[in-house]
């Protein structure tokens, strides 16, 4: 049963990576990234049981947290002004530096 | 406390670096850092004395025996390097306070000293450790702080130079890491002496050969050996003057040390020079390096650039001495390590003084400085003569031994080429002298004053050392001879 779940999760991770690479928008990528992170958490927990070393759960826990933080981080930074206007902004910054 | 000398050498500057942040007053921090580096200097003199009288010192960190714990192992070579680094570090630091006041913003001063001490720590760590992975860790300390120090330069090109250095340096460090991994895989240990003893069984495997190649290439990246030197000139030219003076005198020396340590102690002479055509390769690279870099130096207009390229050329001399692979050749290399540190730090410090007064290191700005800053320019001339290798200076001593070594094994062409290379040095030194002494001062510029004494004292200390060790060669030659003989396994 555990093995089956592992395989299923691996397949889902693969699908998520495909979506992540294909895009097409930034948000799709973030979404796939988030999903990937969740699946990693599950994968690690299951692996811990498979190998009989439940210490791995600590890592899964860290993953859950880090995943959240990095998704928030991506969102916050993609909200920022430069991100949206990075192309328009380059001209003025160049001028005022010289 | 005497038994703990090896570790104190590293640990004192390491602890002083965070302490700097507590003091937070520029002058106070400077005094503190100076005190610390003076301590390391004294410490290294003691160490050298101890090593010369009673042989190799080992020190087990954490009380664990060697292959399990980390071991410090100081022999003549390490002690010599420690002495060079700590002396140069102290003398250069003496001028730092004056210099960085012009070149750095006020709130960066504390950080500067902290980074400087960390950089010294890293170099001490590399030199004194007997554990291969420890070398990597301390290599990273010294190079990370070097990147940051270079990035502090005023010019924006300093940033770019630091970035290039970072990329090249990290590639080099990663190569070294791969090499360490391969070695570890074949021997199961990280201790240098232990690796050396266990390597004999697996000598013939391709893995060890690959490890050797990776380590050598990694070290050569750090060493700025001729084709891998691209990061060096800009890094030296745009860093703050103090940093240049310190790094130019020490950073490449540490890499040379690593090269020697790797090929002689760990892999053994037979392996190092028989598995690869290392001798010919290094001879050619060294000689080409001397000529290419000296020629490039002739055409540069920034004096810092000139001396940076000359550094690459000097690395070429060291490599030639190393590649001759006789005790005399190695001795010449070690002597040149010592001597080059003396003359390069003097030159770059004097340049720092010039930059302090006129705010530029462009050759065209040097007009008339010979009369306006007589002491500084005289120092540049003397150190420059030493760079060329004129008798009665240190440069002559090391080149003499290099020639002797080359002639001993019948490599006449090498000897001739080394002499020719020195002639190129004459040209670029002459350009500076000509502009500084024989051209009128720049019109429209206020008369430049002589450099302040905080500059002149260390500069002239170094210049006098240049002359002293050029006349009285007993000390340096004795130590270098002992070191090279012990590396070749000859008991004096």
């Amino acid at each position: 049963m555990l093995t089956a779940a592992t395989i299923a999760i691996l397949v889902v991770m693969l699908l998520a990576i495909i979506r992540c690479v294909v895009g097409p928008t930034l948000y799709d990528r973030i979404l796939a990234f988030n999903m990937f992170g969740t699946k990693t958490v599950l994968l690690i927990s299951i692996l811990g049981f498979l190998m009989g070393r439940p210490e791995f759960l600590d890592i899964a826990l860290v993953y859950a947290l880090i995943n959240f933080i990095s998704v928030i981080g991506v969102l916050r930074f993609s909200d920022s002004v430069e991100f949206k206007h990075s192309l328009q902004q380059q001209a003025p910054t160049k001028e005022d530096k010289q | 406390m005497l038994a703990h000398l090896p570790i104190l050498q590293v640990i004192v500057p390491l602890m002083a670096a965070p302490l700097c942040l507590f003091l937070n007053r520029s002058k106070l921090v400077w005094l503190f850092a100076l005190l610390v580096s003076a301590f390391t200097c004294a410490n290294s003199i003691f160490l050298l004395q101890q090593v010369m009288s009673s042989g190799t010192i080992t020190y087990q960190l954490g009380g664990w025996d060697a292959p399990w714990g980390i071991e410090y192992r100081i022999d003549e070579l390490n002690a010599l390097l420690l002495l060079i680094i700590s002396t140069i570090g102290t003398v250069v630091l003496f001028a730092a306070h004056t210099s960085i006041q012009k070149e750095l913003a006020e709130d960066r001063h504390t950080l500067f000293y902290s980074l400087y001490l960390l950089s010294i720590t890293g170099m001490f760590g590399i030199v004194s450790t007997g554990d291969l992975f420890n070398v990597f860790v301390f290599l990273e300390i010294s190079s990370l702080s070097a990147y940051a120090l270079i990035g502090l330069g005023k010019d924006r090109r300093a940033l770019w130079a630091a970035y290039q250095y970072l990329i090249m340096g990290t590639i080099g460090a990663t190569f070294i890491l791969i090499g360490i991994g391969l070695l570890y895989q074949m021997t199961g240990t990280l201790n240098m002496a232990d690796i050396a003893s266990r390597l004999a069984e697996v000598n013939q495997t391709r893995t060890v050969f690959a490890a050797f190649v990776f380590l050598i290439v990694g070290v050569c990246l750090k060493l700025a050996l001729f084709p891998l030197h691209l990061w060096l000139p800009n890094a030296y030219a745009y860093a703050p003057s103090i940093v240049t003076a310190f790094l130019a005198a020490t950073a490449t020396k540490v890499a040379v040390y690593l090269l020697i340590r790797l090929s002689f102690t760990i892999f053994g002479i037979e392996f190092s020079f028989s598995s690869l055509p290392l001798q010919n390769l290094f001879l050619v690279l060294g000689l080409v390096g001397i000529f290419a870099a000296s020629t490039a130096a002739i055409y540069k207009t920034n004096v810092k650039h000139i001396f940076a390229y000359s550094s690459i050329a000097q690395v070429g001399y060291m490599i030639v001495g190393y590649a001759i692979q006789t005790p005399t050749g190695l001795m010449a290399t070690l002597l040149h390590l010592f001597n080059h540190a003396l003359m390069k730090s003097a030159l770059f410090l004097a340049l720092g003084a010039v930059v302090y007064r006129i705010g530029s290191a462009q050759l065209s700005q040097f007009q008339g400085l010979g009369r306006q800053m007589p002491l500084t320019m005289a120092a540049i001339v003397v150190a420059g003569l030493s760079l060329i290798g004129v008798p009665l200076t240190v440069g002559f001593v090391s080149k003499w031994y290099l020639l002797v070594a080359a002639v001993e094994v019948g490599m006449w062409p090498v000897a001739v080429l080394v002499l020719l290379g020195s002639l190129l040095a004459v040209i670029y030194i002459w350009r500076i002298v000509e502009i500084a002494y024989f051209k009128p001062p720049l019109p429209g510029r206020e008369p430049v004053q002589e450099a302040p004494w905080t500059f002149l004292a260390p500069i002239w200390a170094l210049v006098l050392a240049n002359i002293y060790f050029g006349i009285d060669t007993r000390l340096s030659v004795q130590v270098a001879q002992a070191a090279s003989q012990s590396l070749f396994g000859i008991n004096p």
């Binding site: 190998m51 070393r53 210490e55 380059q90 910054t93 160049k94 530096k97 010289q98 | 992975f133 990597f136 860790v137 990273e140 990370l144 990147y147 940051a148 990035g151 924006r156 090109r157 940033l159 770019w160 630091a162 970035y163 970072l166 990329i167 990290t170 590639i171 460090a173 990663t174 890491l177 791969i178 991994g181 570890y184 895989q185 990280l190 207009t301 920034n302 462009q362």
Partner: protein, 122 residues
């Protein structure tokens, strides 16, 4: 017969990818990303070196006979820290470069440098 070494070949592949990015890309941040990949490949190399068939994680527990080799893990912990330190410093440099040059492309920076050099030497 050579299948016993497959792990190292994956590492080599990763390493080559990372190294290629470092050398060939002009974008400074991409270079750093490549550097990270390069370093990580070395980490994997070390870790796979320390692995033992049917070994377990090196935390002492009852009923476990074989453990993986802990030493590579220790080394790599240190190396990871060194890696993140390098990355942080490199990114800081890139940010400063962007501020003062207005670009993070290698060739544009070189062109600008060339210009300033010409100006000063004239």
């Amino acid at each position: 017969m050579l299948l016993g070494l497959y792990n190292y070949w994956i590492v080599v592949l990763l390493m080559m990818i990372g190294f290629y990015i470092v050398i060939a890309h002009g974008n400074l941040i991409k270079k750093l990303v490549g550097l990270t990949i390069f370093q990580t490949s070395v980490f994997i190399f070390y870790i796979s070196m320390g692995n033992v068939d049917s070994g377990s994680a090196p935390i002492l527990a009852e009923g476990v006979a074989r453990y993986s080799n802990p030493l590579p893990h220790v080394l790599i912990l240190t190396a990871i820290v060194v890696g993140i330190a390098t990355t942080a410093l490199g990114l800081a440099l890139v940010v400063r470069i962007k501020e003062s040059y207005g670009s993070i492309e290698e060739d544009e920076i070189q062109i600008q440098d060339q210009l300033t050099e010409d100006k000063t030497s004239c």
